[in-house]
């Protein structure tokens, strides 16, 4: 338990090359840990929006909605995984979908580890000190992106250049998926209303 949830994720984020290797080939990564990380990131973001200090919190409290945070993190996460999986399958990636999900999720661990303390500390900061808040949060994001890069590279056994290429392509693919999704949605709605209209017409004429 402690090994899965604490020791191994820490190992991954501190020694990513080694850690992701172990995750793929020693089967040390666990899906339930990955999903817990994802869930904790959502909680972290909600906490940050709600409880970050007044000086760094520019959210309009009238429009805060935790469900939005949930859908704006979980949906893009899986969208990313699907897009990356579709691209890498075509580009001789060795990772399967489960490994992509795990690598991406474990890479998000620094966000939790840094955002939570900075959120707490920001409540005791004056305006001059908020620079540290932004610095630390930026470090968290850079760390996350670096881990994601290493994770994808290890999982698919790519070179660095190919990893960058596939990551960019994945983002493009995400856009395409969203576009196709909206297209399909609007077409289905058209069909739905067509059937409904015909039904109404029949009802009114009969």
């Amino acid at each position: 338990m402690k090994q899965d949830f604490i020791k191994f994720p820490l190992h991954v984020i501190l020694r990513p090359f080694d850690g992701f290797w172990d995750m793929k080939y020693e089967a040390k990564g666990k899906m339930r840990v990955a999903l817990s990380v994802l869930f904790l990131v959502v909680i972290t973001m909600i906490l940050q929006k709600q409880y970050a200090g007044f000086l760094v919190n520019f959210n309009d409290p009238r429009y805060l909605n935790s469900l939005n945070d949930l859908q704006y993190i979980v949906l893009p996460f899986f969208l990313w995984c699907i897009a990356n999986w579709s691209i890498t399958t075509l580009m001789e990636g060795e990772g399967n979908f489960k490994e992509i999900v795990m690598a991406s999720a474990y890479a998000m661990a620094p966000l939790i580890l840094i955002y939570l303390p900075t959120t707490f500390l920001s409540r005791f900061m004056a305006a001059e000190e908020t620079a540290f808040y932004y610095l630390l949060n930026s470090i968290a994001v850079i760390w996350f992106l670096f881990l994601l890069f290493v994770g994808i590279m290890t999982v698919h056994q790519y070179t660095a250049a190919k990893t960058v290429l596939t990551m960019v392509l994945s983002v493009v693919a995400m856009g395409i998926i969203v576009f196709l999704g909206t297209l399909a949605y609007s077409m289905i709605m058209q069909m739905y209303w067509f059937v409904i209209d015909i039904y109404r017409e029949l009802i009114f004429r009969a």
Binding site: F54, L55, D60, F124, A126, A127, E128
Partner: protein, 488 residues
């Protein structure tokens, strides 16, 4: 029978109560201010329409296209009835004193032609910007000619320069500041004898990057077709007690249509409010009624406050000395208190008067309890009387709990009194992050000072306890070892 009577009384009382509600909200316009998120937030009306004054009411015949009015500090009112080529002078109770239509110019009878602006000094000299005759006429209060400023001559003026004055204001040293049509260099400044001194308050221009790039690739022929980059003209001026000139200009792109010029001509208006001093900060971009405010007149109310008049939507914006928007009221329409073409705003005692060229009348507004308490609070705070101002701000808050300015005002007063914790609360309510940070730093130091001694004592005690524990433990083990070794 008794019951019937009671019901009747109740009905009458309830009718009275119903009647009381619309009377309290009878303003024909919305009053609002902007919150942190640039949303317009409704507030109780700071001013309510009091009366309308037309030429017929004064017994001088209808005004025709009046262009300007001025009210002296002691309440004497001067209306520049341009279409009738006359000045109407009234006392503070709106009773006619005299009309000035003609004056004696070296034996010849002379008059105005479509004059645009009027100003009256403290010693009751009347300055009229006589637009079509291209001169400024200086008269005594009785209408006798003192001086005429015309044909300014200087090396920096072109030979065929046309002096078309629109508005005029005069400082305590009798220097004259004139808004002149077609002059982009700034306000023209004249000395007390009417000699041209120079320009003040030049509006700086900055080309944006996009325009610069276009000019770089454009051919000469294309460049000639392009819009010229010239600054906009000023449209109105006023002067405060300290001799600072306030001006407005209509420039739809600038963020600084309101200026406060110091004697050397630099803009020193404080813009510490959360929104720029531009009138409306949120407006439609396309369609009906779209576009920024057109600030056609400015009036210094004293104690740092000033009101600007937006002729486009017929609104009055009042700011305090820090450039924070206090309130907005007014609108277009035909009811009393709404405008057609408002051209000038003046202060008459604690009331405001707006001259409407479209309606040929003057609308007078009287402050409500809310408006009065806001004014009072700003005045007290401006003069450094923070403790008293808190009372008035709380009075304003009692009538409008959404009034951010009041929270900020109380916060500032608390900060002055070193009540840092209370100040924190108020700055948070007023969404003022800059002052919040100042208050927070002080409060944090206070708390640390208070608890540092206790904290250190506890820490030392804990360290000592730990050390003692370690020592005894070590002593015990050592004794045990020795006992095992059979030393005892």
């Amino acid at each position: 029978m008794l019951l019937k009577k009671a019901i009747l009384v109740l009905a009458v009382v309830s009718l009275l109560a119903i009647d009381a509600v619309p009377a309290a909200a009878s303003a024909p316009y919305d009053s609002y201010t902007y919150n942190y998120y640039e949303d317009g937030v409704r507030i109780p009306a700071p001013f309510l329409p009091d009366r309308s004054v037309s030429g017929a009411d004064l017994g001088v015949g209808d005004f025709v296209d009046p262009n300007d009015m001025y009210v002296t500090v002691d309440g004497q009112i001067y209306i520049l009835d341009s279409g009738n080529r006359r000045i109407i002078s009234l006392d503070k109770n709106w009773r006619l004193i005299r009309e000035i239509a003609v004056f004696d110019n070296n034996g010849k009878e002379d008059g105005f032609a479509n004059p645009g602006g009027i100003f009256v000094t403290e010693d009751k000299r009347i300055y009229v910007a006589d637009t079509e005759r291209q001169r400024i006429v200086v008269l005594t209060n009785e209408g006798d000619l003192v001086n005429i400023i015309e044909n300014p001559a200087s090396d920096i003026l072109p030979r065929d320069f046309k002096f078309v004055p629109l508005k005029v204001t005069v400082d305590k040293a009798n220097r004259v500041f004139v808004v002149v049509r077609g002059v982009f260099e700034g306000l023209m400044q004249f000395d007390e004898n009417g000699a041209f001194i120079g320009y003040v308050g030049t509006i700086n221009l900055t080309q944006n990057l996009w325009d610069k790039m276009w000019r770089l690739v454009a051919t000469d022929a294309q460049k000639r077709q392009m819009r010229l980059y010239i600054p906009t003209e000023f449209v109105s001026v006023d002067i405060d007690q300290k001799g600072f000139v306030y001006s407005t200009n209509i420039d739809l792109e600038t963020q600084k249509p309101v200026k406060r010029l110091n004697p050397s001509g630099q803009d020193v208006l404080k813009r510490f409010g959360r929104h720029p001093v531009v009138g409306d900060v949120r407006y439609r971009i396309f369609g009906n009624n779209a576009g920024p405010s057109k600030l056609v007149d400015i009036k210094v109310l004293g104690d740092g406050m000033y009101t600007v008049l937006d002729s486009f939507r017929g609104r009055l914006f009042t700011y305090n000395d820090e450039g924070e928007l206090l309130y907005v009221f007014g609108g277009k329409g035909t009811q009393l208190g709404t405008f057609k073409t408002p051209v000038a705003v003046e202060r008459v005692g604690d009331k405001l008067a707006v001259l409407d060229r479209g309606k040929n009348s003057i609308a007078v507004f009287k402050p409500t309890a809310f408006g009065r308490s806001v004014h009072q609070a700003v005045r007290l705070q401006y003069n450094g009387n923070d403790a008293e101002s808190v009372k008035m701000w709380k009075e304003a808050l009692r009538m409008n709990a959404n009034y951010d300015i009041a929270y900020i005002g109380i916060g500032k007063a608390m900060l002055m009194e070193k009540k840092n914790k209370e100040a924190l609360e108020y700055f948070k309510l007023g969404m003022q992050r800059k002052y919040y940070s100042v208050a927070y730093k002080r409060y944090r130091r206070e708390v640390m000072k208070e608890y540092f001694g206790t904290f250190l004592t506890v820490l030392m005690a804990a360290v000592a306890a730990l050390a003692a524990f370690r020592l005894t433990k070590r002593g015990r083990t050592r004794r045990a070892e020795r006992r095992e070794a059979g030393l005892y």
